[in-house]
């Protein structure tokens, strides 16, 4: 499934923009996400990062520009079609089905790969039985990837915050995506948990997935990203490697601030190097 050849763009956006009434939340953003890499999107609160993700995943319809995914124009597709093409996402605040089991959550994520409908259900067709088996298998694969296979039967709400984030990721993975969008995956996690999340993301990418993530935790961003995209007032103000971006005066001015965050962010400037 995942594309093997790196550096060809997985996703390209061109002059992408959206207005909410009088507010231009995203404005003329042109960027591309190279296949097999991790792209981080950072920017001040309200910069339009979540909105950017919402545009890509078909939640919002852009008021300008176009989106190409693996060479295909997906600008006008609806969310489930976008997911079907291979883009999965998680939300800024953890959203999963808390009353359902972990396995059910993942199986729901796999729905887009199955075709059994109401008639299949009523008539118990071969397709229904086949799809049911497929869902289970696909969901278990996803759970194994995030290390939750052992918890499959538990209600998702009974897991820790961090566990629930993993469920969210598993749900996304179950749709067999090529591109995974993570909106603030480490929010509310302590440093220990953050580190384990980082290694999970790295494993996923090693397995061939392309990842884009929004995050305010600079240690994670700097430690993971191959490329960083900086949004401000809906516009792209910088793009480059972590090292380049963290030196960019416009980025420091708009987002990173002078110095005081050193402790919080951990090592700011030394790029791809993660924690010891």
């Amino acid at each position: 499934m995942p594309d093997p050849q790196p550096n060809t763009p997985m996703l390209e956006v061109q002059d992408l923009g959206i207005r909410f009434g009088g507010l231009q939340a995203v404005r003329d953003v042109t960027a591309s996400l190279p296949a097999g890499q991790i792209t981080a999107i950072i920017g001040p609160n309200g910069a339009g990062k979540s909105t950017f993700f919402n545009l890509i995943s078909g939640f919002y319809q852009p008021t300008s520009g176009r989106i190409r995914f693996r060479g295909e124009d997906i600008t006008r597709l609806r969310t489930h079609q976008v997911v079907g093409r291979g883009i999965a996402r998680t939300f800024q605040t953890t959203t999963i089905y808390k009353e359902l089991s972990v396995l059910d959550n993942a199986m729901i994520g796999h729905r887009v790969r199955t075709r059994a409908g109401l008639l299949d259900a009523l008539l118990r067709t071969g397709r229904e039985r086949h799809d049911e088996g497929e869902s289970r298998a696909g969901a278990m694969r996803a759970l194994e990837r995030v290390g939750l296979a052992a918890q499959a039967g538990r209600p998702a709400g009974a897991l820790t915050q961090e566990g629930q984030k993993r469920v969210g990721i598993a749900m996304a993975l179950a749709s067999d995506p090529h591109l995974l969008l993570l909106d603030e995956p480490a929010a509310g996690m302590n440093p220990e948990e953050t580190v384990s999340l980082m290694s999970l993301i790295r494993e996923l990418v090693a397995g061939g997935l392309t990842v884009a993530l929004v995050e305010h935790k600079m240690n994670l961003v700097m430690g993971l990203a191959d490329q960083i995209l900086v949004l401000h007032h809906g516009q792209k103000i910088a793009q480059g490697t972590p090292a380049e971006v963290s030196r960019d005066p416009a980025v420091i001015e708009a987002y990173l601030g002078g110095h005081a965050h050193g402790g919080q962010m951990g090592q700011t400037a030394d790029g791809g190097n993660a924690h010891a």
């Binding site: 939640f59 359902l100 259900a121």
Partner: protein, 322 residues
């Protein structure tokens, strides 16, 4: 599901024996009525219980199903066995039409929007004199045609038609619930945005669920028409919807046994309360309030919670030993 299956078999076998004990009369009438309204409650449950949306036009579809059967058999001379499926298809198609518009609204607005549609359906039935007999109603709807020498105008025999219809309804609903499709409905109930982002075509799933649900309503309506033999527009009005909603809530929303349990309990209880004369609703009203306060999950929910607690206790013990 397996012990459940046994339970259902037991219920239906026992039900099949009822006419042997009470051949005709009041008890059978209550039983047939209970089955008809329970079917409507199952239809509603497909939406409220499994999809998480509360449509309030179901009595309207029940009415459409009933009138379709009534008009086709009485005026067009169709056989009941032809008119009935036609009514079901009609209700499914009209459900599709409703969904195309109604799913633009969300939450409570969806409910009240469909309530408006329900009122319109009842009003149209009421005003369309030429077709429906209007306010006068449709009198003399023939009973189901007999075949193989079985006379379905006899309540004892028609009882089995109703019972079979109920069995089909329960089977259909159970299959839907436990399917790939049904799990997607559960996802929609849990949160539409999340379901959408998980790749579920929310709109089309909701549409199909609504069609199934209105089809079941029409299915129940057809039985009603053949059984009662008289159709008045008020049966299609919101009061009927709310009454059935009540059955569903009392029985337990989203459960498989709930619609039948709730309908049986409330329908019978209301029959008893008729003896209270002027006080029947003075008692019934507060009873409803107490019910939603103290058994918010309904009867089937109470059962679920109880058995859940037992299994939970069991697993906890198991964990302790690990």
């Amino acid at each position: 599901m397996k012990p459940g299956l046994l339970g259902w078999l037991a219920v239906f076998v026992l039900a099949a024996l009822l006419p042997l004990v009470h051949p005709g009369g009041y008890v059978l009438d209550i039983a047939i009525n209970t089955m008809i309204w329970a079917m409507l409650a199952y239809g509603l449950n497909v939406m409220l219980g499994y999809t998480g949306l509360l449509p309030l036009a179901h009595a309207g579809f029940f009415g459409i199903g009933a009138y379709a059967v009534g008009i086709l058999t009485l005026k067009a001379g169709w056989s009941f066995w032809l008119a009935w499926p036609a009514a079901v298809v009609l209700c499914a198609l009209l459900g599709l039409l409703l969904g195309l518009v109604a799913f633009r609204t969300k939450g409570d607005a969806f409910s009240i929007f469909t309530l408006g549609v329900g009122v319109i359906i009842a009003l149209v039935i009421n005003k369309w004199d030429a077709l429906t007999g209007g306010n006068e109603g449709l009198n003399g709807v023939p009973p189901a045609n007999g075949f193989l020498g079985i006379d379905f105008s006899k309540a004892t025999n028609f009882y089995y038609v109703a019972l079979a219809a109920l069995a089909v309804t329960v089977l259909v609903v159970a299959r839907t619930r436990g399917s790939v499709f049904g799990r997607s409905l559960a996802a929609i109930r849990g949160g539409e945005d999340l379901a959408r982002s998980a790749g579920i075509d929310v709109f089309s799933h909701k549409l199909r669920a609504l069609m199934l649900s209105t089809a079941i309503a029409g299915f129940a309506g057809g039985v009603y028409a053949a059984y009662v033999g008289f159709l008045g527009s008020s049966v299609a009005g919101p009061t009927t919807t709310f009454t059935v909603l009540l059955y569903l809530l009392v029985g337990g929303v989203g459960t498989l046994a709930g619609p039948l349990l709730g309908t049986a309990l409330i329908f019978v209880a209301l029959q008893f309360m008729k003896g209270l004369q002027d006080y029947q609703y003075i008692v019934f009203g507060p009873l409803l309030v107490l019910l939603v306060m103290f058994a918010p999950q309904g009867l089937a929910g109470l059962w679920d919670r109880w058995s859940l607690r037992r299994t939970a206790a069991r697993t906890e013990r198991a964990v302790d030993h690990a």
